[in-house]
Symmetry: C2
Subunit: 300 residues, 2 copies
């Protein structure tokens, strides 16, 4: 069995080594915002989303170079969402992956601008001819990302719903937490898988299978996060834990209990792996299956 | 002479009538962020940027329908920048166009998300096949907008430089205020003109002429804003005036005095009009010339 943890580490090292070039610094005072963007994007993280983009692209015969730019764009978008989520007016977090959050390391105004800059940069990267020679592919990558990240059933609406539930002290139903998960986390993971399929010009049934895979690992990922919040190690996870219960937040764990939540996550992972069965066996498919297991077994 | 003020009002009415359809509301609690986006985009404004997009597109034979979506995308982007600029951590403004700013009408978290949602939506609109059948044009519109709005010599870096000068109480030089103007205001106005040229598949020399026009009216627009800040009517302008001098901000007026600033604006406008001379006389060219005059003669 491929050791996913090692594979992810190796991928992260390669990916991180290339990130620097995307953030050229200058002596101009406005360079501060680029420093803040770079600080946040290079601030560790599992690089799960870029890894998915590149692994899926490889499933269709594309190498690391051919999928690097869309992977970087997605990580920029993910980083922007973390910077804005951490702001005092939002989740008000001081630590992210064990380091000061962007507004703590810089200041609030710079953090808002750094988030805006990263969000904009994601689309600049995707729409640049350097990403793909075919404008139809660039344009589709832009559209899918904007839909996944936006305010119409995308990440921004997921964050809004999450905030609404908190500020209105609403008891969440299963339906609500599923919708929050789907919009806040699920759609970007789905995008990671779809981007690989778009780059690789996957056939419609292949693309559908990858979307099913993404849905399965997306929900399982969120459940695993909820479980980690209850029983994880703060050193390994790199953020304040037990925040959910302290805030009275409804999660998969608070709704169903630890054991049932764990069982549900296992079922989603099994479903995700089944969705891959339309592909012939091969190295990438094995990696994707092991990645699915890793998502619920990880300790960080 | 075309009455630009009337023409702009008529255009605004047509444009505003179409905006509603871009913000479908629902009963879901996360709908709040779409309400905030809609509140901000429909909150008046001269609609100068969309007017430029549509007028330029018309110069190349395209009608209102063919240029509406790129015009809406640009206005979404412009509105996002106003929402985030108004935030307490940034300019901390309570009023915008005579109405409560987004974070006053809603709350800070919702305003941050509404800005993020509008920025993302701009790229969703541009990259959608409904905007143009040719993916190369959609992709170019995305790239140009991202470059104009971003952190690498775009709007975000202009805002960063502006904040830096304020928080560090730096005396601005002519070079600095020109760079702030170019990045904060100039690049979006230039985008408005280029978008029309891209949609209309303008020849390179035509496009270059329109960029020169945009540069001229962009600087003149900023100088006129600085002049309005000193001698405008708060009722007509719809925001707190004399803020620049109260904050000790360096502007074209503080650097050169009212009369010289007025003279400079006039020179820029003359240059902008000269740049149009490569086009044969016609209705749209006359409108663009009158618009240039309007920019320095306006009282709001």
């Amino acid at each position: 069995m491929t050791d996913i943890s090692n594979l992810l580490s190796r991928f992260s090292a390669d990916f991180n080594a290339r990130l620097d070039n995307f953030f050229p610094l200058s002596d101009n005072p406005e360079n501060r915002v680029i420093e803040a963007m770079k600080y946040s994007v290079t601030n560790g993280g599992k690089r799960l989303r870029p890894f998915l983009v590149c692994t899926l692209a490889r499933l269709f015969g594309l190498d690391f170079e051919a999928s690097l730019r869309p992977a970087v764009a997605l990580e920029c978008l993910h980083s922007y969402s973390l910077i804005h989520d951490d702001l005092p007016a939002m989740d008000n977090d001081d630590l992210r992956r064990g380091k000061p959050t962007c507004h703590k390391a810089f200041d609030e105004a710079t953090a808002i601008l750094a988030g805006d800059g990263l969000l904009t940069y994601a689309f600049e990267i995707l729409s640049s001819p350097a990403t793909h020679a075919d404008a139809a592919i660039r344009s589709e990558l832009c559209l899918l990302l904007a839909e996944a990240a936006g305010a119409f059933n995308g990440m921004v609406s997921g964050q809004m719903l999450d905030l609404y539930m908190e500020t209105h002290q609403k008891a969440g139903s299963e339906e609500i937490i599923r919708r929050i998960e789907e919009m806040k986390t699920g759609r970007l993971i789905r995008y990671a898988c779809e981007a690989g399929a778009v780059l690789g010009r996957a056939a419609p049934d292949q693309r559908q299978a990858l979307i099913s895979y993404a849905r399965g690992i997306g929900v399982a990922f969120q459940i695993a996060d909820d479980i980690l919040d209850v029983e994880g190690s703060p050193e390994l996870v790199g953020k304040t834990l037990q925040k959910d219960s302290a805030q009275g937040k409804v999660t998969f764990v608070s709704l169903f209990g630890l054991e049932t939540a764990r069982q549900m996550a296992g079922d989603y992972i099994a479903g995700a792996k089944r969705a891959l069965s339309i592909f012939p066996a091969g190295e990438e498919i094995e990696i994707l299956q092991n990645l699915a297991d890793f998502i619920i077994n990880r300790r960080y």
